[in-house]
Structure formats: structure tokens, C-alpha cells
Point group: C2
Chain length 191, copies 2
């Protein structure tokens, strides 16, 4: 039933079948329809989700009322609002499904219980954050080194799925440019 999560965990850490079975009992299934929210800003994010299928967008609304997309997350990733989850503060971020999305949800309380009972599962948490950190590092690299077109080209190369499924305006805000500029870039790149 949770074959996808099972595979993802086994690919990340070594764990006995029994422990893995036990671990999986902590995750509760959830389905988010297109445009529905897993988290709205102002709330506390006290869960981590495993993204079984679909596509999530993490964004917030800035002082000018613009929606800024921080992150897209894809299948087989663990997702949360990091600042809210780790510092236990209200989230400024929203987490929304871009398409109908299947999740497996674990609460922070259960996660800590799990860490206590099976200390080796902490490795999974560490590696999950490590992966997030590596993604962010790459993204900072792109901002420091590459102009808008090159950042888009990078996405075209490494995340073509996003470009197919995500509205242009979200992509633009993720890339740190205006929708108009991205629209113009697309024209020059296709030709």
C-alpha cells in the first residue's frame, strides 16, 4: 500500500523489515485536490508529508501582495514548511497542490516518538534535510552566477516536468523574474 514510501526509505537508510513496517504505521494517507492547501500561512506546520504522487507548490505573499514561489516539490520527496516546523513558529508559507496530490503525513510528535524508539530513523531525517539543503545550495549558485535565461535553461534541462505542469507565472516567481520577462525568454529560446 505504501510501496512508494517504503522504497524511498529503503533507498535512504538501512532498516529491518519489522522496523520499516512499524515506521510506516505512523504515516497517514491524505489526498489534496488541485489548488487545495496542505498549509495556509499563519498556521503552525506541525507535520511532514511524503509526496507520493502529484506536485506541490510552496509560496508566500509578500508586502506588495505578490505570490512568491519558494519551492516546487515532486514525487518521492519529503516536504514541510521548514522554518515553521523546526522553530515552531507560525508559517508565512502556504503549501498548495498544483495537481491532485497523494500524500502520506506524519506529525512532528509522532516523528519525535519514532526518532526516540528507533534512533536510526534519525538518519532518514538528516538525509532528507541534507537533500533539501543541497537543492537550495544549487539554487543560490544559480542566483550568484547565472542570469534569468540561464536559470530557465537549467530548469529546462533538470526539471522539464515542472515546465510542463506549472503555470508560467509560478515558474517566473520561482526563477526570480517577472512573467513578462519569462514569456519573452521562452520566445527566444524556442526559436
Amino acid at each position: 500500500m505504501n510501496a512508494s514510501l517504503r522504497t524511498t526509505i529503503q533507498a535512504s537508510i538501512s532498516i529491518s523489515d519489522d522496523d520499516l513496517d512499524y515506521m510506516l504505521t505512523f504515516f497517514k494517507p491524505m489526498i489534496l485536490k488541485k489548488n487545495n492547501f496542505f498549509l495556509k500561512s499563519g498556521n503552525y506546520c506541525s507535520h511532514v508529508v511524503y509526496l507520493k504522487s502529484g506536485l506541490l507548490r510552496i509560496y508566500y505573499t509578500n508586502e506588495n501582495g505578490e505570490e512568491i514561489t519558494c519551492y516546487f516539490s515532486l514525487e518521492t520527496e519529503f516536504v514541510t514548511s521548514l522554518a515553521s516546523f523546526s522553530k515552531e513558529i507560525r508559517s508565512i508559507e502556504n503549501i498548495q497542490a498544483i495537481v491532485t496530490t497523494e500524500l502520506l503525513v506524519i506529525s512532528k510528535i509522532d516523528l519525535e516518538k519514532l526518532y526516540q524508539e528507533l534512533p536510526n530513523t534519525q538518519e532518514l531525517g538528516r538525509k532528507a534535510i541534507e537533500k533539501i539543503a543541497l537543492n537550495m545550495e544549487k539554487r543560490i549558485f544559480l542566483f550568484l552566477n547565472k542570469n534569468a535565461e540561464e536559470r530557465y535553461q537549467d530548469m529546462l534541462k533538470n526539471n522539464p516536468i515542472l515546465i510542463k505542469k506549472v503555470p508560467l507565472k509560478y515558474l517566473a516567481s520561482y526563477l526570480g523574474i517577472t512573467p513578462q520577462h519569462l514569456s519573452r525568454l521562452r520566445k527566444t529560446i524556442v526559436s
Copy 2:
């Protein structure tokens, strides 16, 4: 002797005095003189360092021969070249001391041994990466939302120490702008 590291660890996780003493035996002291390197690109980064005092700069050289500063790290932080350390690949990054810097070094092998022997210490690793990730998240936020002047103002507000100690050209590359532009910004801000 390792009072600083002791305090930092105790602030992060709960650990018995005995375990903490044992843990500290894994860390070896090291002093880096100004401009010396802890890591040069092309090598494998198989250590994490605790920055006891001083200031480190993580940078790499891009295709155009420009030095791009990824990160500055300050006292009481844990530092490594994340990609190299976690993926066990050659580092593209250099880690250099900006001033004379005292480190406490632990090897990846020892760290994994420590994780095995005292599973709760994994929490420390998780939290250290979490902190790094939160910093990077903040930085991405600044790139998405703020122009060069606002990013500099943010640094002025939250990291005034850096501005005092770090040459302008390094600050500029960290902020993603040219030294010329930063120099001009400074003029308008002081007045």
C-alpha cells in the same frame, strides 16, 4: 578546553556529561592562519569543523575565473563543504580563513562512529543541517524579493561583523553583485 563546543552542543541537544566528554574526544584542534585553506577545490571534504573563533569563507572559482563567495561562517558554527561531504565527491569549493581561525575538526568516519555509538548525537547533526538550511532559505528569499541595496541593508542589520571584517569584493560576490556596484551602494547608504 573545548568549552565553546561543549556549550554549543548542550544548547542544541540534551546529552549526559559522560557522553559529551566522550563526544568531545573525537574533535581535534586546528589553527588556520589568515588566508590559509582548510579545503581546496578538487579534494574530498571528509571532515566537519566546528568554528571556535575566527571567520571562514567558502568560495569557488567559476568558468570566468571569478571567485564566487558562497558563504561566510562565524564563531560557534559547524562548517563543511556540504556537497562534497555528503555525496563524497570532489569539492568545487574552497574553505579559507579570512582571519586567524581556531577550529575543532571531526572526520566523517569518526562522526559516523559517533552516530552509531551514541544515536542521540544524530540529533545534533540534523539540527546543524537544519540551521544551514534555514540560512539558505533566508538567502533565497532575499534573492527572490530584494534588490542589491536591500540585500546589503539586511546584511548590515543582521551581520554587521561581516561587513567590518570582510573585504568588499568578497561581500559583493556573496551578495551577487559587482564590487563596483557595492561600492556605489555604500556611498548612497552612508550619506
